[in-house]
């Protein structure tokens, strides 16, 4: 039995029209899988299918060896913590209230939040270092703070797998590094992490494995050094790319031309 997330033979898309076919990969607890894809490559559809927001066309998604197909939304929300690109909240909830919503799946639909829910909320805020933002208006904090709050909300779900959809899009340089740092730490605490990005070098910074999604097909899954090469980057993004090394571990992708 595979611990963590196991996706096998997954075809995904809308209304039975496949966007992607035959995707298979695993993310073990402690591992960070970085998904790279060009715009329109099927990344968002794949994530939605894994999260159960879209029904799969074929294939299975399993957590700790258990097929998630029969699961209800509540059960899924206790296994998958989801960090959207930017929260869609339009109402002036406080950051604490927003993180508390991550606990919805841990009590019955009619129940008010319990002491355990408030404790989990506090822990999630602490672990991302944003306890000082707890009483701030969700609509009035910065994009970087909001992203950290969304990660805290996903942590409050107490999931096994954390799914982050372009968590660093819309963030400045410092906040990007901060979010990646937290991602690494959370994996070290035993979470299986699946994230997508448009910046290949972020994979060098925090991924244990990289999956390349090209026109709906997973063309390669390997360690970052092996998966991210001039050839694969050219295939994915359609431009000439040079991989530049600085010292032992730091690498960058530079477009040629």
């Amino acid at each position: 039995m595979d611990r963590g997330l196991a996706v096998s033979g997954l075809s995904f898309g809308y209304h039975r029209r496949a966007v992607g076919r035959d995707a298979s990969f695993t993310v073990a607890p402690g591992a960070v899988l970085c998904l790279l894809s060009a715009n329109g490559g099927g990344k968002t559809t794949l994530f939605k299918t894994i999260l159960g927001l879209l029904p799969p066309i074929a294939g299975t998604i399993a957590i700790d060896g258990e097929d998630t197909a029969p699961w209800q939304a509540r059960r899924r929300a206790r296994a998958f913590g989801y960090v959207p690109q930017s929260g869609a909240g339009q109402f002036p909830f406080t950051v604490r209230e927003m993180v508390l919503m991550g606990r919805a799946a841990h009590r019955s639909a009619f129940a008010a939040p319990t002491a355990a829910d408030h404790e989990a909320t506090g822990r999630a805020l602490e672990s991302l270092g944003i306890a000082h933002l707890a009483e701030r208006d969700w609509l009035r904090i910065s994009g970087g703070e909001r992203q950290l709050a969304l990660i805290a909300r996903a942590l409050a779900q107490e999931p096994q797998v954390l799914v982050l959809d372009e968590p660093t899009a819309n963030l400045d340089f410092g906040n990007q590094a901060r979010v990646l740092q937290h991602t690494r730490n959370l994996a070290a605490q035993g979470l299986a992490i699946l994230f997508s990005t448009h910046h290949p070098e972020q994979a060098f910074a925090c991924a244990t494995e990289v999956a390349l999604l090209h026109r709906g097909a997973l063309v390669q899954i390997a360690a970052p050094e092996r998966a991210i090469t001039s050839e694969t980057m050219s295939l994915l993004y359609g431009i000439d790319v040079e991989i530049v090394s600085f010292g032992a571990s730091t690498k960058a992708c530079v477009p040629r031309g």
């Binding site: 209800q72 509540r74 959207p84 909240g89 109402f91 919805a104 639909a109 009619f110 008010a112 009035r140």
Partner: protein, 330 residues
Amino acid sequence: MSLGGASLLLLAIAALALALGAYPVTPPLLATVLWSKLRGLPETNTAAATVIFAIRGPRILGAMLVGAALSSAGAAYQGLFRNPLVSPDILGVSSGSALGAVAGIFLGLPVAGIEATAFIGGLFAVLAVYGIAAAVRGRDPLLVLVLSGVVIGALMGSGVALLKFLADPENQLPAITFWLLGSLASFDRGDLLVVTVPVVVALLPMILLRWQLDVMTLGDEEASALGVNVRLVRASVVAAATLMTAAAVAVSGIVGWIGLVVPHIARLTIGPGFARLLPMATLLGAGFLLLVDTAARTLGTIELPLGVLTAVVGTPVFLLLLARGGRGWS
């Protein structure tokens, strides 16, 4: 303002409403009449007792119930549709109920019959809107729902126009016009039962699902990823809010703006969390319509239409909110 403050405000407005009118009921007189009623003593002041228990009392309770119903329905719709500009009219409920009631007046039905047809009209409109939204797939479901509400509302409105055109200009047309403007002038104890039962029944799912409704304001995808059964919660709350609106429209006619403006003000005072927003919207809605209805029956020598008064108050408040609330609708 806290919930306690809002409750006190509502009590004060109720006392004021009871006191004002052609036959003033002062607080000592009210206390005397209530005391003898409680102890089962023979009535010494039958005129005051009649005003309190048969005329003004039911109307005050009616105004509070209708205001509370429209306001809490609005709060629920605004959360579900993630849009503070949404109101009970959104699903065509008000227009559907209006068409039903006008048809009842046109057919010369008794008051109870008119209430029943208003109710049927409201439910028909929301089912039609839901049917259209379910049939049109592959687009933003909320947008489709809102647009179908507008379209069905317009259709219902043309039905009303047709009935007005066909109505007897001597008797029916004034009755229809008066009803469409909104009024509680003929509200009596029988109406009280008609409006109380559906409002209480509809409040129940809203209270039970108050925490899930907070999550629903994040949109379908996030709510579903956080473990909420989005379809079930939406269907239950839309049904409840529609029942409330239909019940209110059935006894009071078209009283606009409350479902739009009052939940907004409630959110400003106590925040967006539905567990606090719902009681606040209920209290403020009850107080607001009671105040407006009291003004309607005491300001002039004739009764002023409620819908006109709420529009006169609601429009500037709404414009003010629009001007200062552009960012994030807080």
